[in-house]
Amino acid sequence: MSDSLFDKLGGEAAVDAAVDIFYRKVLTDSTINRFFDGVDMEKQAAKQKNFLTMAFGGPNNYTGEDMRKGHAHLVKQGLSDSHFDAVAGHLKSTLEELNVADNLINEVLAIAESTREDVLGR
């Protein structure tokens, strides 16, 4: 029996290692950081951790409906494919920085990609 993606990545510890790096990249990207203005940082970081746990194939309770509701106000502010791509790009470079194998990175990105339509409210 093979390990799950989450186990292969290193489980919860891997999420912890990734979350600060990933969130720092997102906050310093001037094309997307306006979407994070005025949000409590700790709550936001907890959400990023939720998101990474899900993208890593870990235990989560995310539903498409949550994704829609959670991003609806941002879609009104102009959230679009280019922003989604930017975040996915930061996810990719975070994993590269952590020396995650390419095939696992692709699996993670595929999970992230599966949320695109819900995030963008389509």
């Binding site: 969130y23 940082m41 235990p59 989560n60 309770n61």
Partner: protein, 325 residues
Amino acid sequence: MSTITFKTHQLTCHPDETLLDAMLRKNIDVPYNCKSGSCHTCLMRSSDQTPPVKAQEGLKPTQKQQNYFLACLCKPDQDMTITLPDAADKFITYGKVISKHPLSKDIIELKLECNNPLSFKAGQFVNLMKPDGVYRSYSIANTPNKNNIIEFHIRILPGGQFSEWIYNDLAIGDQIPITDAKGNCFYIPERQEQGLLLIGTGSGLAPLAGILMDALEQKHTGPIHLLHGSKNKEGLYRFNEMKSLAEQQQNFHYTACISGDTTPETYTRGRANEVALKKITDLKGWRVYLCGHPDMVEQTKKQAFLQGAAMQDIYADAFFLTPRS
């Protein structure tokens, strides 16, 4: 199987069930959201046991030490009594006023002697209550001591119904009800080689002075930088004391920052947070404490994180004002 006591409820938690699921099964109304340890909505506290290690994953070290845990990750291995995080708002002792004197134009130092020993860490806060029931939170500025004396730096706000009462009406010998100590902004003697960056504005020096004394008493070995900011020189109370402490303690550095127009010699011009983040540009591996004005705290929290501090290592205590009614 363990028995959990929560308020008036007694419930059984089965071996393969989380505490949160056991409570929901019994229709006990508790806040929760992700059920996977990320959102921290189901944060609770054990009042009698050390929670299982797994149930404290992702919490700040200072929360772990106070037996906070996440109900959604908790599979209790023994009987526990639990509370919601802010349920501990009980007045547990009285403090007798033993001294009250000005530190600056609008800040006074208040010392209370507790008639029961109060368990606290320097930097935590308590609520003080006046006779009409109005209460406010104030940070403790000293470290625990055998005389049960706690010290506060209280900013007198024009029209502030609590602070003006302290200033005008509170007399030596009066007794004030005090709650137990709360808050996660305090020193713990872990990774003692870490750099500590302490940034405070106005009476934000109170918790920071306590944290500083605690770190020094516990022989912290890493560099400790304290930056205290105010509009003018008068607001930088305890300047001489901090300056001479910095001369005696090799690893302690003190910078007094003035954001107003005139900057006398030996003071640094600029806002404390901006000066600090220019002085130490790479905060990777540092522990950061931020106390004072909410805008300063929020802004600096973000900037410190962007400059490399881990989220887990940033401790903040924003001083919100109670709106006038």
